[in-house]
Symmetry: C2
Subunit: 875 residues, 2 copies
């Protein structure tokens, strides 16, 4: 039987690995191999594969039989190549032992440097470098690192010894210690090691090597690494690889140095060589921040030849990888070595610019450019942000409910917001929670902060719709009254300044500098490419002509959800709505509804005009009626007086409409069944509006949507009512009009009987907010109490109100589509829950065959990009 290859050599201009072997060699190992093969100078070494890590854990921390031999052979090969030997007193080889998984987990696993130093080889090192201090410093660093990482000798004990030595010498910096001092430190370090381990510090380099390898493999499953993988959703890896590589020293003199560079500017994306370096320093020195690094321009002056060589490598790597690279290099005595290359992290702006530039440069295709952008990053391009240069300290953190940032003066009621905003003030509305009555105040506020409610609470949904910054469910907010509150223990009064970061959920005291978004031409171009690539449509959720027009500018191809209830609050309409609710009988309700009819018609005309030529899905009234009535005694009294009804009567009505679980109560089409006249008025308004705008030459495609359908009978009854009303109006107005009647699928039962419902519905629109609520049995307004804990404890991977739960809710979505299309093959299917703008959920929608997704206006570009990526990935 052929022995399995576990160890992969790189060096001498060729390597056994390749860049595409990341799974097996880890990112670092694969790229070291790739660079070696490209003829780029890389300190030689070898990589022990991730399969060994996998075997190690599967076999009770034992290595495969053949591993020791393979490591020995590779070590010999390395020694031969360099003419050096590990532990050799004359010509010692020093190596580093580093982790490296297929996905980068910076700082989570262990590293050992300067391996191979011992009491003998230190002499060779001294001789070779002609620098005793350098040699002894290397030795003491090794003992410290080995003890700490491999043997768990407490880190701070080493520090104590070093500090004692400095004190003794009356110096402050490590660099001020001389050779003799370091020798003493080494002695004390060894004593410490023995005290803690009961053994002498190992002098055998092989023992050093194997213990270090064990430690690195062992660090794959240390607590922080496990947690990191959980948090970052890293799965399906075999383990870490271990890279054993020849040490090179940037601190070997004035002809040495070390640096980090990017092939392009990672913050702007500009095609300029960008980076920093330090002369006579090691990587750690850059990190420690003791010396300020210089720019590459300085390097160009100081080490022009090395700089030229580095530029060459930069060009070669970018040509080769066809993406912006983040590289580490070290110059040892005028010889340049590359220690790492990897795809560089970048800002949203940079990502966009680099992708579009690289397509223009002919390096990548349009599809590749599209795949280079993380859709959620686009959010940064569309909202104001806190200036990254501003120093801010958050006093509290809530849910990042609607992205962007806002600075303003605190107000506590919607009325205050409107008053202050009318005076030209920037205001932040701070509430326990918002309700539809607050809509006016929310509209004029710069941002919204709530103490309660989740990512799909009223505040969050409305704010996202408006593209307005919102931090929701911030439990550190305690509102004392309508002029004072406490946030994270800090007292605030109305008028005090505050800053919200809706992208992170942070609340910041006082005013902070913001930067405004500047979607560039690159943005528009990439979006065009995305539109060509994607297969499903992107619509928007919009309730006003203004939102509709805005969404259209952002690329919306129709309205997927126009909520009619928001219109019920505007201006003095609420009076007519309340009159309707308080009516004793159908006749009274019809009278009140007839007052609303022309107003609703006006609303629809505005929206139809804004969406000329594009479909508009109008959802009939959804919320329970008690949402339109006041609940506090004094408010009821006020309303009773203004309406001229007895307080008792109004109070009784409010009481009788109260619900224990309004989310599961008398709302949606249940209202349409019990009070058909409400839906009739709405349908009438829709078709009167449609006929009116059509006469003005506007192309209108109304789609009437029944909410909260759970039984086929609800759909058949309401479809009949809708069609009868629509046909009546169309006939009266002597128009010809195409229209559709469909339903939300947001009740689990609706998905289960979708085949029957589809007989009466021309389209389905998945309301995944409610569907998630009911499939999980989570109230989106209350789950904020336990959901964060659930995600933290790993009960849930993601908040299912943010990312569609494909495992559970997704089953119902898929089932419903399948069954629906079994009864009506041409059934149009979309989604209008908050998930319609979340990239992984959009990909799911693409995969299960939806025709469109619909999301809040400011997420339209994200959905367009995510849909394009889904289509490309499918290829």
């Amino acid at each position: 039987m052929a022995v399995k290859k576990y160890v992969f050599f790189f060096g001498g201009g060729k390597a056994e690995g390749r860049a595409d072997m990341k799974q097996l060699l880890g990112g670092k190992g694969a790229n070291l191999a790739e660079m070696t093969n490209l003829g780029i100078p890389v300190p030689p070494g070898f990589t022990i594969s991730t399969e060994v890590c996998d075997q190690y854990y599967k076999n009770n921390e034992k290595y495969p039989d053949d591993l020791e031999d393979q490591v020995s052979q590779n070590l010999e090969k390395l020694e031969k190549l360099l003419g050096k030997k590990l532990g050799d007193p004359k010509n010692p080889l020093l190596v580093s032992v580093r982790s490296g998984a297929a996905i980068s987990m910076p700082g989570m696993m262990d590293t050992v440097l300067n391996l191979g130093t011992n009491d003998e080889s230190i002499k060779g090192l001294e001789a070779m470098t002609g620098n005793a201090r350098f040699a002894w410093d290397a030795y003491r660093r090794f003992i410290q690192m080995f003890g700490d990482v491999v043997m768990e000798v407490p880190h701070e004990e080493y520090e104590k010894i070093l500090d004692a030595q400095k004190k003794k010498k009356g110096v402050k910096l490590d660099t001020e210690l001389g050779t003799e001092d370091l020798k003493e430190v080494v002695k004390n370090y060894k004593a410490l090691y023995k005290k803690h381990t009961g053994e002498d510090f190992p002098q055998d380099p092989k023992e050093q090597l194997w213990k270090s390898i064990n430690a690195v493999f062992g660090s794959w499953n240390n607590d922080r690494a496990i947690k990191y993988r959980a948090i970052n959703d890293i799965k399906g890896l075999l383990g870490t690889a271990v890279n054993v590589q020849t040490m090179v020293f940037g601190n070997a003199g004035e002809d040495s140095g070390t640096g980090v560079c990017f092939t392009r500017d990672p913050s702007t994306g500009e095609n300029v060589f960008y980076g920093e370096y330090l002369i006579n320093a090691q990587g750690e020195d850059v990190v420690a921040g003791i010396r300020t690094p210089e720019t590459l321009d300085d390097m160009k002056k100081e080490l022009p030849k090395k700089y030229e060589q580095l530029v060459g490598i930069r060009n070669k790597l970018e040509d080769h990888y066809r993406d912006m690279q983040d590289m580490e290099f070290t110059i040892e005595k005028d010889t340049l070595y590359m220690l790492q290359t990897r795809t560089g992290k970048r800002t949203a702006h940079a990502a966009l610019k680099i992708a579009v530039d690289m397509e223009r440069e002919g390096r990548i295709s349009k599809d590749e450019a599209i795949m280079r952008i993380e859709p959620n990053q686009l959010d940064q391009m569309l909202h104001p942000m806190i200036d990254p240069k501003a120093k801010v300290e958050a006093i509290a953190k809530g849910l990042p409910a609607s992205p962007g940032a806002a600075v303003g003066q605190i107000v506590f009621t919607a009325d205050q917001a409107e008053e202050e905003a009318a005076k030209g003030k920037a205001v932040i509305l701070v509430r326990i929670e918002t309700s539809p009555e607050d809509i006016g105040g929310m509209n004029v506020a710069k941002g919204i902060l709530t103490a309660r409610g989740g990512m799909t609470s009223h505040a969050a949904v409305v704010a996202r719709g408006m593209g307005k910054c919102c931090v929701a469910g911030c439990s550190a907010v305690h509102i004392r009254n309508e002029s004072e509150c406490e946030i994270g223990g800090v007292g605030f009064a109305a008028g005090d300044w505050i800053t919200l970061n809706g992208t992170s959920g942070e609340v910041i005291k006082g005013q902070t500098d913001l930067i405004e978004p500047e979607p560039t031409g690159d943005f528009a171009e990439l979006m065009e490419w995305a539109d060509e690539a994607r297969k499903i449509n992107v619509r928007t959720n919009a309730d006003t002509p203004q939102d509709a027009a805005n969404a259209r500018k952002l690329g919306a191809e129709g309205i997927g959800l126009c909520r009619t209830e928001h219109m019920f609050f505007e201006g003095n309409r609420i009076d007519a709505v309340r009159e309707m609710i308080l009516s004793e009988d159908e006749k009274g309700r019809r009278k009140a509804l007839s007052k609303l009819l022309p107003m609703q018609q006006g609303d629809f005309e505005g929206i139809f005009e804004a969406m000329d030529g594009l479909p508009v899905t109008v959802r009939l009234l959804d919320p329970p009626l008690h949402e339109f009535l006041p609940h506090k005694e004094e408010e009821i009294a006020e309303l009773a007086e203004s309406m001229g009804v007895p307080f008792d009567k109004l109070s009784k009505k409010v009481e009788s409409l109260k619900e224990f679980n309004p989310m599961l109560g008398h709302r949606g089409c249940r209202l349409g069944i019990t009070y058909p006249e409400i839906y009739e008025m709405q349908v009438e308004a829709i078709f009167l509006a449609a006929c009116a705008v059509q006469k003005r030459g506007i192309k209108v495609l109304p789609e009437v949507m029944i909410p909260l359908t759970g039984t086929v009978k609800e759909m058949s009854i309401l479809r009949e009512m809708t069609v009868a009303t629509a046909e009546r109006i169309i006939k009266e107005k002597k128009e010809k009009l195409e229209y559709m009647v469909g339903t939300m699928i947001e009740i689990p039962r609706a998905a289960l009987v979708a085949d029957k419902i589809a007989e009466y519905a021309e389209f389905f629109s998945y309301g995944t907010n409610d569907l998630t609520q009911m499939t999980f049995g989570y109230s989106r307004d209350d789950a904020g109490v336990f959901l964060p804990d659930y995600v933290k404890k790993g009960v849930l991977e993601k908040d299912p109100f943010q990312v569609l739960d494909q495992e559970g809710v997704g089953q119902l979505v898929e089932l419903g589509i399948k069954r629906g299309r079994s009864a009506r093959p041409k059934l149009k299917v979309g989604i209008c829950g908050e998930h319609g703008g979340e990239p992984t959920s959009v990909e799911f929608c693409h995969r299960v065959g939806m025709n469109y997704v619909s999301c809040s206006p400011f997420r339209v570009p994200i959905a367009r990009l995510a849909a394009a990526q889904a289509a490309i990935r499918e290829k």
Copy 2:
């Protein structure tokens, strides 16, 4: 092609139909044919099949081509058999035309009697009977009926003519009108007919016949018939048959009469011949109630020969049909005719006695006896009932939430209930709604009346568990304060008497006589047979040793649901519970929980003892924590003082725990995840109790049940905690103990991922209350507002909280079982929602392969019987 047979003759001792041809001939036609074949005297005639009705509607109200010929042939055959002719002036044949579907729809469809009378045949009738008045009365009745039923001449116009005639003659009764009067009435009737129809009254008997047949078929789809079928859930019928049958006259003299009789007493079930009759009368006269009918004993004296003949027929029919029959007979001039026989309706007691008696008599098998009882009828045998002889008038109606009846004095709080009951008073607790805090008061009350909440509201569920009468969600109840209320507009004060009928939902003012249940030996015997027949187990939902013992007496084979939260309210435990909730940290919570531990242990010991040898499923804490705290300001203040905590702090805590939708909130295993110490204490109590009672020689089979599981991770985490705790206790106590860990399936998502959950759950118990809530998106506490309307409008066939929705919720149940067993083939599956005691739902549970159903103690016998019927039906 052979012509299809549409018309079936009966007469002359043989018939073309049979009793088992009900679908084709309707119940009446099939039984007339059967009786004819049995040699029982039946006025001859023929039946037009239900297929004709079906064709008629399918073909735009046209009959099959051949029908007219077939009717003519059968009419000729009838005329030949009797030697009479339709419309013959000398020897006229008179017939009735009646509807008759496979399922009886009494009074819903049309009937025409005396058909064949006209200006000519009336002479023959006069001559034949020698009774001119009789003949003219028959003619006038025919004109009236034909005009009314066939031609829609307003009914009241006929009455006006008749009344005018009586007035003119100065008489009061129809029977006081003489021949000449009736001739004048006939004249006026004909004029009325012409005025309304524009035609003369038809003299052609064939025209009379076909118009009547049309009318009867037409009446299949009149509004009331459609409504009746909807209400009574009658489906799958082809239509009605039409019976054309020779008229016989019970009003032909003192040797004539008519009657109704039952082969056994329909109210007691005793095997005695039971019935009533009237001499010289027609069926209508019995109904009209003008004369008081005589008993069969009178008939025995007055018409001994006819009585003997009738007894012979009774015996023959019961022998033949092997069930109690409800028969109609007419004696025309000393000749006995049977006009109808059908299975007789009976009381629950009678049904039971008849079924058991008939098995003993060897008439039917045990299986058949079991099938003879409607399981829901058993309720009557187990609860007190309002004396059927008592005259009661309901002042309001609510939901029949828990069956039986109760009489008592009104109290408005649980405290009042306990105080008054302690004085020996019978009390009825009247509340807006009940909460777990009311449990003590509910326990001592005779009955419970609530203004809000549905069939599965707290009041309803708890009352059913206690076997206590409850009327819930009675919106006519308005509670003014703690000493006054208004019910259906009537004012009541504390201490006023009231009667509740929990079987009908009626509320009655004052005291009413009740009769106590007396489950007889027959009951026990039938139950034994049922237990032999059924395949699934029946357990009970019980929270106290008393309930458990009671349920065991009623046949429960274990506890399927022991709710631990009810125990949290007893005595002063609530103090410890509140201390736990108000604790700042885990340590504080553990301290409070340690006080609860011995009390919970004691509860479990009592229950385990009561269920010695039978399994007990204990559900860990389910309700949200705010249910254990007061919500009104004064109550909070009181509690704050008694606990020695600041009002503000307590008030803040209550506020922070408030939920918008508590049903979808922080409850069930979500509490177990965030506060593991609560569940740990409960598991500890269960196993401490189990070990303790086992030491006393009791056999204990604990099953720990996790509520509200929605994700596999919840189950795996809580299973691990449960097993670890259990093993620790078992080891400490040095016992050996079998136990199981399982979960409720009540969240739709749990059913969808049941395969994954089953890896960690040894049993599933379907909580179909919550599953129904979430699958439909209906809050059981709020749906009372629209559900009745939904059922009335046919949106739903049944209230899904009463009868399991097999179409929707049932899909999730079946799917969950299938997936669960795919991962764990021996998975034990049961149901512990309210549906576990509802017969059609029990049948569903049997069909989908559950191992058991669990229901409230008083429904255990119903479930046993329903399970037996399901098993028998499957054979």
